[in-house]
């Protein structure tokens, strides 16, 4: 009989301190996330030094809670998986050094996981992955489309050339005077609106799978500016709706084109912005019409968490990938450099 594999995941790449135990790469045994949103709210964004300080305060508590919730002792684990990059370097280093100390003290192997691979493998916690697979990653730091032909293989076919989609959401939220983090507020306003201001779509070259959101962001800023100069009143809902329609349409159309070109068996969305209802609805409807299986993990698994790191780490563990105690944080780590 094959033995069950238990992996402890640790994630500290941005402003969540997270630890989780995952069984066989697909079953969440425990999942603990300490968020810093309340603290970072003061600054209207994530201040790296403050993020690092919070991680040191939380890290052992979060790991302990993950083990307690799982009812497991360290010697019942098979390995420790930790986010190696990309992310804020000072923040990554807390998770990495805690993972090293924990792994060393308990004679466990350590595995460095790419954060985006983690987001993709979050889907494995919901249903098995089918290849070839298209992953659409949309978050505050990423807007990427990745083709996977098998486990551990990642081909980046498109990415943003300027702002990430989530970044554009946060900036537009600020323009509309919405609180941080702005994405969910824009989504809510957009869904409530009956009208939409018409904003441009950045399609780029006809065959490109890349994205660009900075022009759209400027268009929103200019629209508000012109309106104010004319003494008009801003319909925030209509602006949010127009902005969201532009983002969602570009993402949906490009994802569909990629899914068809690469003849994928499954499309998955991941990253914080895939929690966005407008985007979910559009992707679900589009792929349902085309009969292409589409899935997006539950919201708690879309935002940063450690279960996804443990899930991706399990795949690496089973492929005999092992890290070293000299692991360093890799803030600009490329996904394709991580193929194994």
């Amino acid at each position: 009989m094959k033995k069950d594999v238990y992996i402890l995941g640790i994630e500290t790449s941005c402003d969540e301190t997270a630890a989780s135990v995952v069984k066989n790469g697909s079953e969440i045994v425990s999942n603990v996330v300490a968020s810093q949103i309340e603290s970072q709210k003061r600054f209207g964004g994530v201040v790296p030094e403050i993020a690092s300080r919070h991680h040191v305060e939380e890290i052992t508590l979060v790991i302990e809670k993950a083990l307690e919730d799982a009812g497991l002792d360290p010697d019942e684990l098979d390995a420790v998986a930790v986010t190696e990059g990309p992310g804020l370097v000072g923040a990554l280093l807390i998770g990495i050094n805690a993972a090293k100390a924990f792994a060393f003290a308990n004679s466990l192997p350590i595995i460095g996981v790419h954060h985006i691979a983690g987001h993709i493998y979050a889907n494995q916690l919901v249903q098995p992955m089918e290849f070839p697979l298209l992953a659409l990653i949309v978050s505050g730091g990423h807007t990427e489309m990745i083709i996977m032909r098998e486990h551990g293989s990642f081909e980046l076919i498109g990415e943003t050339r300027d702002d990430a989609a989530g970044e554009a959401y946060d900036k537009v939220a600020r323009v509309l005077g919405l609180p941080y983090p702005g994405g969910p507020h824009v989504d809510k306003l957009a869904l409530a609106s009956e009208n939409a201001v018409e904003f441009p779509r950045a399609w780029l070259e006809p065959d490109s799978y890349d994205f660009s959101f900075s022009g759209l962001k400027s268009a929103v800023i200019n629209y508000k500016h012109n309106l104010e100069q004319r003494g008009g009143t801003l319909d925030e809902e209509a602006v949010a709706a127009g902005f969201q329609q532009s983002v969602v349409e570009v993402l949906t159309v490009k994802a569909l084109r990629a899914a068809q070109e690469y003849r994928v068996k499954q499309v998955i969305a991941a990253g914080g912005v895939s929690a966005n209802k407008g985007l979910r609805n559009s992707l679900e409807a589009t792929f349902a019409k085309e009969n292409i299986p589409f899935s997006v993990p539950p919201i708690a698994l879309c935002t940063d968490n450690a279960a996804m790191i443990a899930a991706a780490g399990t795949q690496m563990f089973l492929s005999d990938v092992r890290g070293e105690l000299s692991m360093n944080g890799r803030p600009g780590m490329q996904l394709e450099s991580w193929n194994h």
């Binding site: 300080r53 040191v56 052992t60 060393f104 070293e324 692991m327």
Partner: protein, 236 residues
């Protein structure tokens, strides 16, 4: 009792194993590229050399800052995670005190110092009493100029300790003249065995989870935010 000591607060790296007041092994280096790459392998090597397993460790001492934010955090994160998972006591010691202790039994005052950029320093003021070290001022962050003005008032020789002293030597000599004395190079480096010897005299942290670095400085974003809050209040 077997202690592991870890000092990564500034550019030097020092790790040591001490058993009942006897150094088993110690490694101190100044060529560390980053502590994240070198600290944990150094600890592993140390234990291997002493033929010890992690579970043989009985207490951990860590240099808790001030110093490089990232450096301090790496040492503290390693130390608190090891102490928590091995269920052993953890003791934090000021990183300034660790190098000040190198200068005992210097007669006069001892000023450990780390460069904090833009003409600022982290510094402390200590004095030897017999074989022991006594703290005169709280460790602090401030301008080098203010520090030198303050120590000039003390009519005693002042010994400057720390690898960063060289950066400021000219200015120190210009302001203090003969009053300033500089520690020889072997005394400039933090030694984890020294850290352990100070830690042995301390009470361990009551809650390892709550153990955090002693930065001696709040982040710029937070300082600005506090300033803004005060302005908002005074406008009310």
């Amino acid at each position: 009792m077997i202690w592991l000591g870890i000092d990564t607060a500034n550019s030097p790296l020092s790790v040591a194993l001490v058993e009942d007041g006897r150094i088993l092994c110690e490694q101190t280096s100044t060529f560390a590229r980053t502590h994240s790459i070198q600290a944990m392998p150094a600890i592993e090597r140390l234990l291997n050399e002493a033929s010890l397993r992690p579970s043989d460790l009985e207490a951990i001492a860590v240099s808790e800052g001030p110093g490089s934010y990232t450096g301090v955090r790496i040492g503290v994160t390693l130390a608190k995670t090891l102490a928590w998972t091995l269920k052993i006591p953890l003791v934090g010691v000021s990183s300034l005190e660790v190098i000040a202790a190198n200068a005992v039994p210097f007669e006069g005052v001892i000023v450990p110092l780390f460069d904090a950029r833009r003409e600022n320093v982290y510094c402390g003021l200590y004095k030897s009493k017999g074989e022991r070290l006594h703290r005169i001022w709280e460790d602090r962050h401030g301008t080098l100029e203010q520090l030198l003005e303050d120590v000039a008032c003390i009519n005693q020789p002042v010994l400057f300790v720390g690898v960063d002293v060289d950066i400021h030597k000219t200015k120190i000599s210009a302001m203090l003249g003969d009053q300033a004395v500089f520690a020889p190079f072997p005394q400039q480096l933090p030694r984890a065995s020294q850290l352990i010897s100070l830690a042995e005299q301390r009470v361990p942290a009551s809650d390892i989870h709550q153990f955090v670095p002693n930065y001696r400085r709040i982040p710029e974003a937070e300082a600005n935010w506090i300033k803004e809050q005060k302005q908002v209040k005074s406008h009310d």
